[in-house]
Amino acid sequence: MSGARRSALASLRGQIERIETAAVVHPHDRVALGHSEADNALKGGLARAAIHEVFCAGSQGTAATGFVMGLAGRVSAQRPLLWIRQDFSEIEAGALSMSGLAELGLDPRRVVTVRAADVESALRSSADALACDALGAVVLELWGETRQFDLVASRKLTLAAQGSGVTGLLLRMAAQPLPSTAETRWMLRAAHSPPGPVWDAWGAPRFDAELLRNRHGPCGRWIMEWNCDECQFSEPSTYSQPVAAAPADRQNPAISADERRRAG
């Protein structure tokens, strides 16, 4: 390799490094989700001006929708929210109901829905929307595997989000995670309501959220509960339950196991 070419490569590398560090050094505005372990893993909260991906299996679409809406509610901070979806996902998973959104404690007045016919127009609209700094968040909902959403498209969205400071949330239902430029990637499942009497209040949104990828921190898996009144996530609330009293005449098996390990 000639010297001139090597120096050209070096200068290009330097440029790329500067571009990338600029994005990293830029003090990411972070929004705490309310769930302390998840916030710790995310270094204080979900980064604004970035792309976050939420994946789920086909049958778990609504849990993922609830989670994405929760994230959007956290990051958008009273600014408008653009919800871009494909016609097909509405048939498969149902339409986003504004009454349901209001029940989650979010404000339906701020939601503008874009009903894109196909993936191309959805992607194009979202790139446009991410460049508009009047928005709080842009949610792009795609159903199934899509060829059109590749690394280039993902990079485009990330750049647009970095430029404007708008947060992009991708809801990928019935899709497998693929390499992308997203800041975080989640896999969502619905979690059971806490055990308790059948007639007791139940049904608050609970998510089994697995953080698959985190650019700036560790991953993890947590049960997160959405608190509709305070509009934030929280640790699963503990419900006091009658527990059988420990037998007084026998050794506590948990303690004995512990001692055995120490001895061995």
């Binding site: 679409g61 109901s97 349901g100 503008v112 928005l135 619905a190 059948v198 209040a201 049904g203 608050a204």
Partner: protein, 500 residues
């Protein structure tokens, strides 16, 4: 009528009172003595080797409307006069084409080149001009000369109908001059007020307004080309120059455009009009430029220049007075501007009905509780809408995702007739019910649907996997649902939505 084999007698027939009669005919057929309205059998008897075509009234109307589109290049006020006439209001337009005579000549020649036989005339009133086209094509009558011009023409030229023409002839009034010489009261008493009004209009005493096909745009700018343009760059450049001119003329009156239409006139007579809308008045030419670029990019059938466009017209068909706002002090106003600009851009590309905001409706029926309205027009209303408040410290009572059409589920049995199922099959998967809440009974609005809809009992359900459903039984257990024989049947179950 379009030409073709001019020398062979050919006719177009239409069914009238169960008989085929001549609807239109060419000159060769006319020379043989055939006439419009003659039964086909008689015509065949007179001329056995007649070429006969079926009339297609819809296609005729389409052709007339296409010609009217083409005529838009002369004046924005073009009205249809079915079955085969057009009125053009050329007030104030003629000088752009070198005077009335030159305009008439241009129009007749251009249509003639496209294969149409045209008779045209210019007069002070529309009825007078129409009468002239039937007898003296190409004539131009100045204001006040109507009565003299029509004096010698037969009464049938007025087009008042067969009965009246015959009546006038029987009364010995053969020409329009004869009729005009009688006093109006006599004519009205014998032939009705409608005919006397028609006569008055033909003679230039008063005028019937024409009804143009399109409302007159508030502002029009256009560009004509001696050499037709066809390339995308030229089209884009023309549009942006026109936008500059349009904005300049609107600015003088403090207006902004809400709806804009670009019309592309192809050399072969085809006209393509493209409309864009804006949520708030547009006052910058670069915004117009961008909206059209988005729209042109996203057209399902792209703009086909063919042999080129010889004219491009940009018109603002809806405008509003622009209120100058103080921007810097109120960031909120600025944000809303940006949002509506974004909405306009997306709407220009994918259609205004596909970008929606949501308005609450005052009803209990879940699928009707929210109305989606185009964001371009209802953004402000949606931002201020009053939504019903949620109950504090309750889990969500309405699902996050709602199916447009509730999906039927299979329920094997219910332990209690009125109660919820223990398990159900939805989309071929079996769900075991772990927790239930309900029923929430929602009765249909009898005053709206004519009492045909059934009462629904909704249950919130959690299955063994933690998925939460909103299911309902369509109809009360007894007394609402009947099978074909009128016997009580068991009501159906549906999934209507899913909770997060």
């Amino acid at each position: 009528m379009s030409g073709g084999a001019q020398d062979e007698p050919s006719i177009v027939v239409i069914k009238d009172n169960n008989a085929l009669v001549i609807h239109a005919l060419n000159e060769a057929a006319e020379r043989l003595g055939l006439y419009i309205g003659q039964p086909l059998a008689n015509a065949r008897a007179m001329c056995p080797d007649l070429k006969v075509f079926d009339a297609d009234v819809a296609a005729d109307a389409k052709t007339l409307s296409d010609i009217a589109d083409w005529c838009d290049r002369f004046t924005p006020l073009v009205a249809l006069d079915p079955p085969h006439g057009l009125f053009l209001d050329i007030t104030g337009c003629a000088h752009l084409f070198g005077g009335e005579a030159a305009l008439l000549q241009t129009l007749v020649r251009a249509l003639g080149r496209q294969g149409f036989a045209v008779s045209a005339a210019i007069a002070g009133t529309s009825v007078c001009a129409r009468t002239l086209t039937r007898q003296a094509t190409g004539s131009i009558v100045a204001d006040g000369g109507e009565a003299a011009a029509l004096d010698r023409f037969p009464v049938s030229a007025l087009g008042a109908g067969e009965a009246i023409s015959t009546g006038l002839r029987r009364a010995g009034l053969k020409t329009i001059g004869d009729v005009a010489s009688r006093s109006p009261s006599e004519i009205t008493a014998r032939f009705g007020a409608r005919f006397s009004t028609l006569l008055a209009h033909a003679l230039g005493q008063g005028d019937a307004p024409i009804s143009p096909r399109k409302p007159l745009p508030d502002y029009i700018v256009e560009k004509r080309f001696a050499e037709p343009i066809a390339t995308d760059t030229m089209i884009a450049m023309t549009l942006s120059r026109l936008a500059d001119t349009l904005i300049a003329s609107m600015e003088k009156q403090g207006k902004g455009a809400r709806r804009l239409e670009a019309a592309f006139f192809r050399t072969d007579g085809v006209v393509r009009a493209i409309t864009v809308e804006a949520g708030r008045p547009v006052t910058q030419s670069k915004v117009i430029d961008r909206l059209f670029r988005e729209r042109l990019d996203a057209l399902a059938d792209p703009l086909d220049p063919g042999f080129g466009f010889d004219m491009v017209r940009l018109s603002a068909s809806r405008t509003e007075i622009v209120v100058q706002e103080q921007r810097d002090l109120d960031a909120h106003v600025h944000d809303n501007d940006e949002l509506s600009a974004l909405i306009d851009r997306i709407a220009a590309r994918i259609g205004g009905k596909r970008v929606v905001v949501h308005l609450p409706e005052d009803t209990h029926i879940p699928e009707c509780a929210v109305m989606a309205a185009p964001a371009q027009h209802h953004l402000a209303a949606a931002m201020q809408a009053e939504w019903p408040a949620r109950a504090e410290s309750e889990p969500p009572l309405r699902p996050l995702r709602l199916f447009d059409r509730p999906e039927p589920i299979k329920v094997p049995f219910a332990a209690v007739p009125d109660g919820p199922p223990h398990q159900f099959t939805w989309r071929r998967a079996l769900h075991a019910v772990v927790r239930v809440e309900g029923p929430e009974r929602i009765a249909m609005e009898w005053w709206r649907q004519g009492g045909k809809q059934l009462t629904r009992d909704y249950f919130r359900i959690e299955d063994a996997e933690g998925l939460r459903f909103w299911i309902f039984r369509d109809g009360l257990y007894e007394g609402e649902v009947f099978d074909g024989d009128g016997e009580p049947a068991s009501p159906g179950w549906y999934v209507h939505g899913l909770f997060a």
